[in-house]
């Protein structure tokens, strides 16, 4: 029983990061109907930023989030203005290919600049854990989840309580109507992609003390983000949050109860099942 | 004599929305039936049910005596019923000829034979000079004609035309009216959704009026045009009828 609780809880904690990445993806899709295949690579960029801030300036990863997020926001905004904006009316397949291309450029540039060596970011508390009765939860994982919760709450507040947040949601619901109401939808696109990238960067920062850091780590994050978003429903932020936690938990339980190297396989099988049985997801308002 | 198409008590619901409720009518071989009604009356929904894009929620549809509820669109086409679209759907990256060949291939496995049939239909609608042009580059009038040629190439027994005159100017509409009358002379049965009342009166043998998903009236054009209920239905909301 303790084993079950332990792995389920650890899964929920890491699920927070998957949720963050998924929320970013779903935000971008909701506002621009673009499926960003480079989301995982943006996480990777966040990981490297965090790593170098730690190694060169000694800034703790959980603190440097406040630096990484704006940096990734700017990167995302730049990508949107120069590249994504030009394909908003193109075939969705072409949009996907464009973002795949961007992902390839990001990961391979990282390979050239940083080499493929695996990096490890270890802090003083990297291997410590917190006891909760019979369960031990890894400290970095705990911080990770807490900060994720804070960021998600902040995002929710922004979307629900501010004018800009309303404008973004309006654009996501009906682009033309929003434009007729005076919303600058071009700017909303930039904002959405910037925010989506910032969230990916945050995920990268939070996960840097936990995972190996290497240029190709993005790929797995992208696929997991998709599973999360499809499970929760394309365009639904709450759905992505729920989806992230569910996937984190499934992955963790699969690793313990089936086999450690089968956990990815299980996640992809869940993915296919959702796509086939309920493609609109748990809370989705998607149109296929 | 059995009707070619028989629609019996057809209803179609989308969640709580009743798009069609208990609609019944039949279409005899060789006539042109007009299907009119204000926007949102459920005309296109009815077409979609008949041609297999979704099954009716209840009721039955018979074509040539065969019950076709739930048949997929390609099977319905092979049986002999073809439809055009309210919002034209050209196969944009294919040429005018290739578009029509796609239709003709419904009846033959030979591409050469299909090309022959296609050219013939293009001649009927007057587009044979535009055969090598990409469909995506055509103006609206020619797109509508292309759609007509395309369905005619499937050698149907009956065609369903969904607002085939929508968006056309007077001259283009006149050409379409002539085509409908020519096609009728060749023995094809037609069901025509239209808002242009002048065209309806000139081409249709009988008219069925839908309003809010239900059948409001049925009769010959003279009866319908003078029916106060029909006028109320159109004038009651901003229908779009040009009487």
């Amino acid at each position: 029983m303790a084993v079950f609780l332990q792995s389920a809880l650890s899964g929920i904690l890491i699920g927070g990061v998957y949720a963050l990445t998924g929320i970013g993806l779903t935000l971008i899709f909701g506002v621009m109907r673009v499926i960003n295949f480079a989301q995982g690579e943006l996480v990777m960029v966040g990981m490297y930023c965090t790593f170098w801030l730690f190694v060169l300036a000694g800034i703790d990863p959980f603190l440097s989030v406040v630096l990484t997020m704006p940096a990734l926001f700017l990167l995302g905004a730049l990508l949107q203005r120069t590249l994504i904006n030009r394909v908003l009316d193109a075939l969705p397949q072409n949009q996907i290919l464009l973002t795949i291309g961007i992902g390839l450029v990001l990961s391979n540039t990282a390979m050239l600049v940083f080499t493929s060596d695996y990096r490890i970011l270890s802090t003083s508390y990297s291997s410590s854990s917190v006891a909760l009765g019979v369960i031990r939860l890894s400290t970095p994982l705990l911080f990770c989840f807490l900060i994720t919760a804070v960021i998600t709450a902040a995002l929710y507040w922004f979307l629900v309580k501010t004018d800009t947040g309303h404008a973004i949601r309006a654009t996501a619901q009906d682009r033309d109507a929003a434009q007729l109401m005076g919303v600058n939808v071009r700017y909303m696109g930039v904002l959405a992609f910037g925010l989506g990238s910032a969230l990916a960067g945050a995920a990268g920062a939070l996960v840097a003390p936990i995972y190996y850091i290497y240029p190709q780590v993005g790929g797995a994050f992208t696929l997991k983000a998709f599973v999360v978003v499809v499970l929760g429903g394309m365009g639904s932020i709450i759905g992505a949050a729920l989806g992230g936690i569910l996937i984190g938990m499934s992955e963790s339980l699969a690793a313990v109860y089936i086999a450690a190297d089968m956990k990815d396989l299980c996640v992809y099988v869940i993915f296919l099942l959702v796509l086939l049985l309920k493609p609109s997801g748990l809370l989705g308002k998607s149109r296929m | 004599m059995t009707a070619l198409l028989e629609v019996r008590n057809v209803s179609r619901f989308f969640g709580g929305v009743k798009a069609n409720l208990d609609v019944s009518f039949s279409v005899e071989q060789g006539i042109v039936l007009g299907l009119i009604g204000p926007n949102g009356a459920g005309k296109t929904t009815l077409f979609n049910c008949i041609t297999g894009f979704y099954p009716p929620s209840s009721g039955e549809i018979f074509f040539e005596g065969q019950r076709i509820n739930g048949y997929p669109p390609d099977k319905v086409c092979k049986l002999g019923m073809a439809r055009t679209w309210q919002k034209v759907r050209p196969l944009a990256k294919l040429t005018v000829l290739e578009n029509t060949v796609v239709g003709a291939l419904c009846r033959t496995n030979s591409v050469a034979e299909a090309q022959r049939i296609a050219l013939e239909q293009l001649r009927v609608v007057g587009l044979e000079g535009r055969a090598p042009v990409l469909a995506g580059g055509l103006p609206i009038g020619e797109r509508k004609k292309l759609e007509l040629a395309r369905v005619l190439a499937t050698r149907p027994r009956m065609i369903l035309l969904d607002e085939v005159m929508g968006g056309l100017n007077a001259r283009e509409s006149e050409e379409i009216i002539q085509l409908i009358l020519d096609v009728k002379k060749r023995g094809l049965t037609q069901v025509v959704i239209e808002h242009d009342m002048k065209a309806i009166v000139r081409t249709c043998d009988r008219i069925v009026v839908l309003n809010s998903g239900e059948k409001l009236a049925e009769g010959v054009p003279q009866e319908i045009v003078n029916d106060p209920r029909v006028m109320a239905a159109y004038l009651g909301d901003s229908g779009g009828a040009k009487a």
Binding site: I96, L97, F271, L276, M288 | F53, D74, C77, R89, L105
Partner: protein
């Protein structure tokens, strides 16, 4: 028939190349080119004609490779027989996958295709008894090819691979030619342009898409087996990895999807650029792919062939 002339001339010229060119490196580049062409043309059938962008075609490539290798390894079945069994296996799996995934549209289909390839890759990685897992399989010695009593080749030089590669590339090009002019080709392109309109014109969607997938998977598996034997070693990431799928898609996008010549041009660009930059980029050679795809999608989404065709059309009809 006039359109066939340039292809015939090219085929003859290429067939004569090994008589003048002896350098193993040059022949190697040609072989890479033939493989890329075969793969591009294979993907074109389902991606270019039918518009179903599978980014998981590595699944068929790898099944072809592993199938033929395992049959040689375990049952000593010569590659020229084993390949066909592997191809058949790939087609059967492809049809099963198609039956499940073709109900999905657009980006959802893309995602599903990626997931399928990943699942197969992970299965290969973990099913160690069959595939040796991450350690991969080294090709057992390929027996000499005999006809009657005489040995045609020992597979000891590049030349036999060159001719097999050329034959395979020409075969895949021919398949594209035939499909494009056939009823299936018209139907696939109609599905690509507007699936609902196509359905209403009497086109059986599932049957058409699955036929295209079967053809595409078969050709991909064939190319995969050939490439595997040429390299001599296979492991899950190398044959099932997403880079393989992406390269196939890129070759077509760059050259021009839905055309017969497009994948050839794309293959030339991709292979030559990759080789030219191999020294400076080494493992980051995919950078070239990324940059290329961005440029092509932004400036000429119909690829080189589409771009030129558009120019010619503008010159012919200035209105």
């Amino acid at each position: 028939m006039r359109t066939l002339l340039p292809w015939a001339v090219a085929a003859v010229v290429l067939a004569l190349v090994p008589l003048w060119v002896q350098s193993p490196y040059a022949l190697h580049i040609f072989i890479l080119l033939f493989i890329a062409i075969a793969l591009g043309e294979s993907w074109n059938v389902i991606g270019g004609f039918a518009g179903q962008y599978s980014v998981g075609h590595a699944a068929w490539y790898g099944l072809g490779a592993y199938g033929a290798f395992i049959l040689l390894q375990r049952k000593a079945i010569a590659p020229w027989f084993g390949v066909w069994v592997a191809v058949a296996a790939a087609v059967i799996v492809a049809l099963a996958v198609g039956w499940i995934t073709f109900r999905l549209r657009g980006p959802y289909f893309v995602l599903a295709s990626i997931a399928v390839a990943e699942i197969i890759r992970l299965a290969a990685l973990n099913w160690k008894e069959l595939t040796n897992g991450a350690e991969g399989i080294l090709a057992a010695d390929v027996p000499p090819l005999r006809l009657g009593g005489t040995v045609i080749t020992d597979w000891n030089s590049k030349t036999p691979y060159y001719y097999m590669g050329l034959a395979m590339a020409l075969f895949c090009i021919a398949v594209n030619f035939l499909v494009k002019r056939s009823k299936l080709g018209y139907y696939l392109q109609a599905i690509r342009e507007d699936q609902d309109a196509a359905h209403s014109l009497g086109i059986p969607l599932t049957l058409s898409k699955n036929t295209a997938l079967a053809i595409s998977a078969a050709c991909t598996a064939l190319a995969g087996s050939f490439a595997a034997f040429y390299v001599g070693f296979i492991e899950p990431q190398g044959v099932f990895g997403i880079e393989v799928s992406i390269q196939m898609v890129l070759t077509c996008i760059i050259g021009g999807i839905g055309t017969v010549a497009g994948p050839v041009i794309g293959a030339v660009v991709v292979v030559l650029l990759s080789e030219a930059l191999r020294a400076s980029l080494s493992s980051a050679h995919l950078l070239v792919y990324g940059v290329l795809v961005i440029i092509v999608i932004l400036t000429m989404p119909d690829g080189f062939v589409g771009f030129i065709a558009q120019r010619l059309r503008r010159k012919a009809a200035p209105a």
